[in-house]
Amino acid sequence: MVTATTRALVFATAQYESGDWDSAPLVGPNLIDSVARYTSLRVSPTPAIVPLASAEVLRFPFLFLTGHLPVRFTDAERANVRAFVARGGFLFVDDHNHDIDGVFHKTATEELRRTVGPLADLPNSHELYSAFFHFSEGPPTTSHELNGWGDNLVHEHLQAIMVGGHIGVLYSSKDYSSEWSYHPESKRFLAIDNTRFGVNVIVYALTR
């Protein structure tokens, strides 16, 4: 149970009314494990789920939103997302389909454009890629991009909506939701921890 007054970072997943918001339940615990493993940041061991239509969303400045299905925000969700970003929150949206023309991509990007503003490619030299670990070639590829699933593309860039010079909304078509969906204990089987980029995203959100 995450208390609303904790001073620790809480990894919160956005619960929206349309689509399958809970398609990647292991991403939260896995990234929490990575943050605790590599940094000295205070992080809550338990992730939170927060309804996007609730004002509670403003108590969690880092929000993760994913899914496979079409995304249509309600008016309340749209208002909250707008306020969340305007006040300095960081919304990380990942397309669980890793499709360039998938329904999630089309609807989520359109919804974000209506709610916050248009997405633009994020340069691979952006400080996001050096916020903690260094990714000199930009966003790390995922196994789903490389094995021919989905649109059979390696997406060169992430996209973002900048607010006041900082990333307010980070959008990924790379399907990190699948890439990071495993139990943290299984990291020991990896030669290189593939959640390290997730640490960068969280550190960036906390420091910029």
Binding site: T5, R7, R42, P61, A86, A131
Partner: protein
Amino acid sequence: MPLRVDRARVERALRILGLAALALWIVNAARPRAGRVESATVRSLPDVLPRWTLSHRVAGVHVRMDTASDAPATAWLAALRRAGVAVSWTGATIGTVAIETYPAVDPAGGVFVLANAPHASKRVVSDAFGAIDTLAAPAAQSALRVAAVGGDVTLQAGAQVARAEVAPAIAPRRILVIGDAGWETKFVVAALEESGWAVDARLFVSPQHEVQQGGRARAALDTSRHAAIVLMDSASAERALGAERFARAGGGVVLAGDAIRARRLGALVAWRGVRRESAPLGTLPGDTAWRGLSRMVFDTIGGRRGIVLESRNGGAVVAVRRHYTGRVAVVGYDQTWRWRMAGGENSVAAHRDWWSRVVASVAARTPTPALDRADPTTSVAPLATLYSALGAPSGAVRAGSVALSPRATANLLGVVLFTSLLGEWLLRRARGAR
């Protein structure tokens, strides 16, 4: 025969007396005439000062004041004194009216106005555009912060007017924020940047990794680079080398959250953290009694002085003190980001303004160009100017120590001369001589 001899002596004495009176009469006629002493009230000075200046017969002036003369009149009286006219004044009941202005150390600008006036009088602060405010506080001193002023700022209290020029504002130096990476540090940096401060930051992510913002984040603390530093927690405060020296040199230090517990900063603080309080269930994040949902409460360390700016439930939450030429503020609120994120509609602006004011209250003041205070038509403190120009009040001056006026002296000498010569002549006639 003896009678004849006596008469000759008397004649000789009368002649000498007559000649002496004649000599004195000539000396008296040749001596410069001593002028008269005039007096006036302060309200009639504009009328009498030109006459006093042009008349050669005025040797001294005395002014009865129920209010301090204005700066031009005071300067005029001082000039009369330098020209040889004895000037005195009395006015035991004059109230002290004074005004001072200085630019706020804030990127948003603004001017602080410090005013002092007897509270019984109507007190109005104004600038070239009109009245700014009236001082309603019962105390004699008042402080105002004005966003912008045009021309000089004046304080009118009764008939007295104090006037102060306003130094041009200069952009303050940079702010350095040091803290663990977290929401509180992030949003404090954001609030200060949005307020217009140039912010350097060091945010610690792990013992080996810190995120730096701004080119001077790692430079040694120095008031030539930074106006203030904000230490967000005790661990980060321990890493801030030279914070005490920075404050001693005039820099501002803000200790947020539990930064007050850093042993390195022991010399800076006058308070110790007593307890950390969490807001009761149901407290709104925008509740300014909490400015978030938790706070550290401080208690004063004996023997060290400071001013509590905000207190809750009997404990200090925001306080400030001087440390040599610098200032140190402690802020007990440690989750103000919740106030900004989850407060009401204006919470972002309120959070931004509040943090900017906290930092501005301690930030080192950038030297401003010296104002030309030679203008004799203005005075920031008319009574002080009066003392400086004319000295302390005293009784009315006298024209001199001569008991008789020159005319009366001349008349008296004339009578003596005439009488002595007449006496001598009669005596001479009486003995038959011519």
